[in-house]
Amino acid sequence: MSARLIPPSSELTQPYWRAARADELAVQFCQHCDQHSFPPRAHCPQCGSAELEWRTVSGRGSVYTFTIAYRPPHPVFSEHCPMVIAVIELEEGPRMISNIVGCDPATVEIGMAVQVAFEEIEDSKVTLPVFTPVKTS
């Protein structure tokens, strides 16, 4: 449990948050052009098709880039700092913003393999996908 900004969801994005609540990472998959996409939309950004289905993905990815924020970007993050904010590239293709948790921020590197984890947001019924380094041993 941690304090964070609470994401405003919509009917269209509910499957994403329901999956996260069940400790799963789900993104949309276009049945027309066979591509995963993120963030959620009514139409595929590649081909415009409305035939998008939700698919649970591996939760594996790598760090495309990151920073260590020493000052909280919003006061609600005070207790998180210094915090690692990153762009994660999923194995399935899409990139998303996330945090890398469960490690010393100084050990984070671009290209590092990461795995999804789940964190409940304080005072909410929302679970947020975050990432942790993949243990190599």
Partner: protein, 401 residues
Amino acid sequence: MSLKGAAAVVGVAELAPQRYTGDATILDLLSGVAVEAMADAGFYRSQVDGLIVHPIGGLPGFVPATVAEHLGLQPTFAEIVDLGGATGAGMIWRAAAAIQAGMCTTCLCLTGTRRRKRTPRGNNTNADTSRRPRSFSPSRDRSPQAEFDAPYGMLGANVGYAMIANRYAHEYGLKDTQRAKVAVDQRKNANANPAAIFHDQTLTIDQVLSSEVICEPLHMLEIVMPAAGAAALLVTAADRVADAKQPPAWILGAGESVTHSSFAQAPGLDATGIGIAARSAFSQAGVRPSDIGLASLYDCYTVMVLLTLEEAGFCARGEAGAFVEAHDLTFGGDFPLNTHGGQLSFGQPGMAGGMSHVTEAVRQIQGRCGARQIPGLELAYAHGNGGIIAEQTGLVFGAAR
């Protein structure tokens, strides 16, 4: 078809950046610089039939009409530009395009912001968190970024540009001292510009690198400081240029690109919209980056200048760090860059911050920059950048049509 030579900037006015404004409303700040820009060009209000503004906090809509009424204008072309830091540059080519299309003959481009004393610079660690909203009001912000980026602290711009700096360093290598050199040379320029907010303060590489790290690797003194201020530019048709009191800064080429909104969806650093916009501007103008005598490049952060230098073609890919080390970027140097100080030293008065790169390019072309004037300048390039390298506009200005 291109915009080349269809119109020129003939009037400029700027309210120098200040930390805070007094009681003047935003409409009065804008009308102040509008009146001054018309006077600068020697144009009467009745000769102005175009108006371009940007979204203004507190005005829910109808912004062009509200501003036009306040100024006593009844334009035949009224437009709003919403491209973040590229807004100012984006206004200029739209004005030229509207003139070329016969929608108006003389167009006022207005930018500015007020700023009242509230929080200190940077992010406020000591703020009372209990009174800050924890969630976004659904009616106010249902953007994908509010839902999928903000919960992770991806807010404001510091985080995104720090990510860019780290990715750039990973791909090409970049030293802290190379980023700092940009801030230091620009400060020398600001020391020759009385309007710059840091006019009276010198800066060294050591000072930059010993300032607080806000988002690794970016230091406080690599980050632009918000300010209050305003800028107005008057663009007129080629056949009206002779009516102006000031020499024209001809609009020779323009380019624009919008590639994403969330930084997670940005193209790679070798395929940004910066390059798309710049190549289009140079191609319209029929000139090359090496022909340019002043690079007036958007500098919300030191790293943005480095990225723009190579994406716009002023140096080879991956060599921006070495390039800034090898060149004197001051107004008297071999590669004059952001001769007004850049926003890093001039201050960032909202959208007038981005416009300051345009204003400086125009004034340098007009030969009105006093102590920091580049002698005999013929071509200048101004670049605007919005969001986290999301919106880009490039402009080539010339002393000759």
